[in-house]
Symmetry: C2
Amino acid sequence: MRFTTEQRLDDGILERGFTLDEVPGILWTPGSASAPVPLILLGHPPLGLRTMYPRLLARARQCAVEGFAAATIELPGSGDRPRWAAAEQARADLRRVLEAGEPVSDEIIDALVLPLVDRAVPEWQAALDALLSLPDISGPIGYSGGLISIGIRLAVVEPRIVAAGLFAGSFVPRTMFEEARQVTIPLHVLLQWDDEGNDRQAALDLFDAFGSREKTLHANMGGHTGVPHFAGEDAAGFFRRHLR
Amino acid sequence: MRFTTEQRLDDGILERGFTLDEVPGILWTPGSASAPVPLILLGHPPLGLRTMYPRLLARARQCAVEGFAAATIELPGSGDRPRWAAAEQARADLRRVLEAGEPVSDEIIDALVLPLVDRAVPEWQAALDALLSLPDISGPIGYSGGLISIGIRLAVVEPRIVAAGLFAGSFVPRTMFEEARQVTIPLHVLLQWDDEGNDRQAALDLFDAFGSREKTLHANMGGHTGVPHFAGEDAAGFFRRHLR
């Protein structure tokens, strides 16, 4: 892991850009920290870190308020990473059926999500190895955000992640429902009830499938990107309970 | 309104029993209050105040922590109030079909809930009149708990109630779905996801029906009576936002 940029933000947070095996990422550590702190991995949809930066920064600030570090990495085929023809084809196929008003088939969802999960999850795990080797970060580790299928796979395969806050706002392959049954860590699932681009019933079915004994669904109004501020406060309470 | 008992609890809360037109009730006011405080009406199922007392007191203590008073009244036909033959018949009918493993018909649910709502809601409103005349209570007013149909009706007809936390854990007559569409105040709805005695789909449909622009559904595990402690914290945050 090589740090490429470093800046101190106005609220004292230290923001460092890094690369790890050609994968760019960002680490935010709270300014007040005197001892190593827990870490929340900030998941996001494949829109590129530059596009997602304002929202990621806002979430990192919420983490810092709780005394947690936050980190994220660029997804395969996104942002400045090498183009990935298969992923672009899958996104083009999705756009085509959405524009035609056709139903989104399982084949399209699988092609869109499964290769991304398969490639991204080992990269998140490698980032976790590197981040935990830093003196600033101790654990425990949480995962927060979309892409929900990446969160599910990580919750199953990565024992260092002890709690996950997931955003039920994206297409979920049918096979991920089977993986969801294997999840046992505490979950906090956000659902935008009036998200027109999202299949609400699928999100409810997925919540039902999770094997975790402690799982909570928070459904709010406000559309896909209109998650209310208080939903962030409730999620912060979840991570406070499980990472402190 | 006539106070019948008064005791100071260990955490300084003043607990007063009262009767109002033969309806018994309890008022809890926080010990620390130096000015009139907001009030949360504590709804409950028709099991009698004596049976419900430990749970009501625990909720009143949570209100006091936020600086809110809390009050509740006995439901018609419950506790020490005169027996109500029609209500007892409806409950006997319900028990009979549940024990026989038969589906609970709309007729049984209507007979169980609608007369209770019709009689209880004006009593809650009269209690509110009396409570607001006390120097300790200023408002704003919230309603919290079951019976959800009483909460729905109150939210529609009682403009002094500005926010409601509802427990989606009881039978809801079909006509209440129409009333739910008329609700516009902020709502915080609790659903026990694995509550076997509850119709989860009906609870989700009811949440969908509410007309409120701000409505939040919190679904948790733990069975009908196993609402996790953190769900209470999230509900406290809801009332903090709307009553302070």
